[in-house]
């Protein structure tokens, strides 16, 4: 594995969340990657879910190729449905930033640009 030095923010509509999580899992990212609830007002229910991750250059290249309609060979070999891949990519909001030193700020910029706000947690610190 290489260096994870590029900041990536991905946002998906709730309707596509299961497919997006399945896609991430098929890529070897594990289950439940889209974990941060978002909505226009910050109130429940979440209309979108987001993630922040440090990624390798290979992921940046894969995302770029996917934007051109190319499905990664690993996903094809794994039998991931091409129609699901197209649906997820078609509704995915993404921001890739090299040299980012403020990942939380990066994440906030991106969801704000999509007209979204964090759905605050229910558990208040006592």
């Amino acid at each position: 594995m290489g260096e994870y030095t590029t900041s990536a923010v991905l946002i998906i509509p709730t309707a596509q969340r299961d497919a997006a999580n399945a896609l991430a899992e098929a890529m070897g990212w594990g289950a439940g990657c889209y974990s941060v609830p978002l909505s226009a007002t910050g109130a429940e229910p979440a209309t979108h879910y987001g993630l922040h991750s440090w990624v390798e250059q290979s992921f940046v290249e894969m995302l770029g190729a996917a934007g051109d309609g190319s499905m990664p060979p690993d996903l094809i070999a794994a039998g991931y449905p091409p129609e699901d891949f197209a649906a997820v990519l078609g509704s995915l909001g993404s921001s890739i930033r090299a040299g980012e030193t403020d990942p939380a700020g990066h994440f906030a910029e991106v969801y704000a640009a999509h007209g979204l706000a964090l759905v605050e947690g229910e558990e208040e610190p006592a």
Binding site: W29, G32, Y34, S35, A104
Partner: protein, 350 residues
């Protein structure tokens, strides 16, 4: 040249049939391999050896990646890592000019060798870190994700993260350049299920922390903020306010001890303490006087079979951690002094 008597060692586990040798260890210390003469024999890089004393032991050591590690054994005295008396045994080989050094791992081993519940994790030591949740792909350099952290307490509470997007990053970007892991303030966390402190009503938490932002509430670690034997470290506890908070609950009330006036960015060694029976919750930040909360917690013990989270799940932590101990008992003043000094060497708070 100092002759270091008192310990006779015998080789085990495939080590060559070399003569016995002697080393001397002060309380809470280990041998610094770089300080000894002759140099560490190469066969020790992959094998263990046993030290036997008249008073106790044996203690099995292993030399891994430039450090001595205790594999197993009981030390001959109750006060520390082992102090041997001159004249107990003879030795055929002597390491000379040895100086001693205490590591986080050795200190953590001392804290838990009496069987206390809890866990200890050294995020600055890549030999204890893995990139994947299963613990099969080791961290080999900076800017790699951390999906598995070994528990050094012996209690088996290894921290994991199965989602790649939620893994903290092993980094050297602390101001002092020392290694640590960085939580992104969005979705990074590590956790372990079935974390059981139900046998105790006391807990002591040590951590080396650097918070990056006070913009939002930030949960550094804990089992939650609800009732029933939970505890929590927040930095900050209140959005937009530069503070650090340690809280704990008994059966009826969650009590907080809060240290104010420390805006981000801020590096600190924190000692959080809770005694549910005596209804005392405390926080000590760096070398400042501790802050106490003494209202009733309702008593009881800490929770069993709960999930312990580092980075927290509701209020994500934005900052660095070098190391962490959750000790299911009250630490002694000597233990506290030793561990805080060790953690400060990592985080560089003062």
């Amino acid at each position: 040249m100092s002759i270091l008597p008192g310990v006779v060692a015998s080789m085990v586990e495939g080590a060559p049939p070399t003569p016995t040798f002697a080393i001397s260890l002060g309380t809470h210390n280990r041998i610094d391999p770089s300080s000894i003469s002759p140099s560490v024999p190469p066969w020790l890089t992959a094998s263990g050896f046993t030290i036997t004393t008249n008073a106790g032991g044996p203690v099995v050591y292993e030399y891994i990646s430039g450090a001595w590690h205790v594999v197993s054994g009981t030390f001959p005295d109750a006060s520390g890592f082992g102090t041997w008396t001159q004249g107990e045994n003879t030795a055929a080989i002597t390491y000379t000019n040895a100086k001693t050094e205490t590591t986080f791992q050795v200190a953590a081993n001392n804290l838990f060798r009496s069987g206390a519940p809890g866990g200890a994790w050294d995020f600055s030591d890549p030999t204890t870190l893995f990139q994947d949740a299963a613990g099969t792909v080791p961290v080999t350099g900076f800017n790699q994700p951390v999906g598995h952290v070994l528990d050094l307490s012996g209690n088996g509470y290894h921290l994991t993260q199965s989602a790649a997007a939620s893994r903290a990053l092993f980094t050297d970007t602390l101001p002092n350049g020392k290694p640590s892991i960085l939580f992104d303030g969005v979705d990074d966390l590590l956790s372990v299920a079935n974390f059981d402190l139900s046998s105790t009503d006391k807990v002591t938490v040590f951590a080396g922390v650097r918070k990056i932002s006070d913009a939002t509430i930030s949960g550094v670690l804990g089992t939650g903020v609800s009732l029933g034997g939970k505890f929590h470290l927040g930095a900050p506890r209140i959005a937009g306010v530069g503070n650090v908070n340690f809280g704990a609950s008994g059966l009826s009330t969650f009590r907080n001890a809060r240290f104010d006036g420390v805006p981000a960015p801020f590096s600190f060694v924190v000692v959080g303490g809770a005694n549910l029976l005596q209804s005392q919750v405390s926080i000590r930040v760096n070398q400042n006087a501790p802050i106490f909360s003494t209202g009733s917690t309702g008593g009881g013990t800490f929770a069993g079979s709960t999930t312990f989270t580092v980075g927290y799940s509701v209020w994500p932590f934005n900052g660095y951690l070098t190391s962490l101990v959750v000790l299911g008992r009250e630490a002694t003043s000597d233990e506290t002094a030793s561990m805080t000094a060790i953690i400060n060497q990592q985080i560089g708070a003062w």
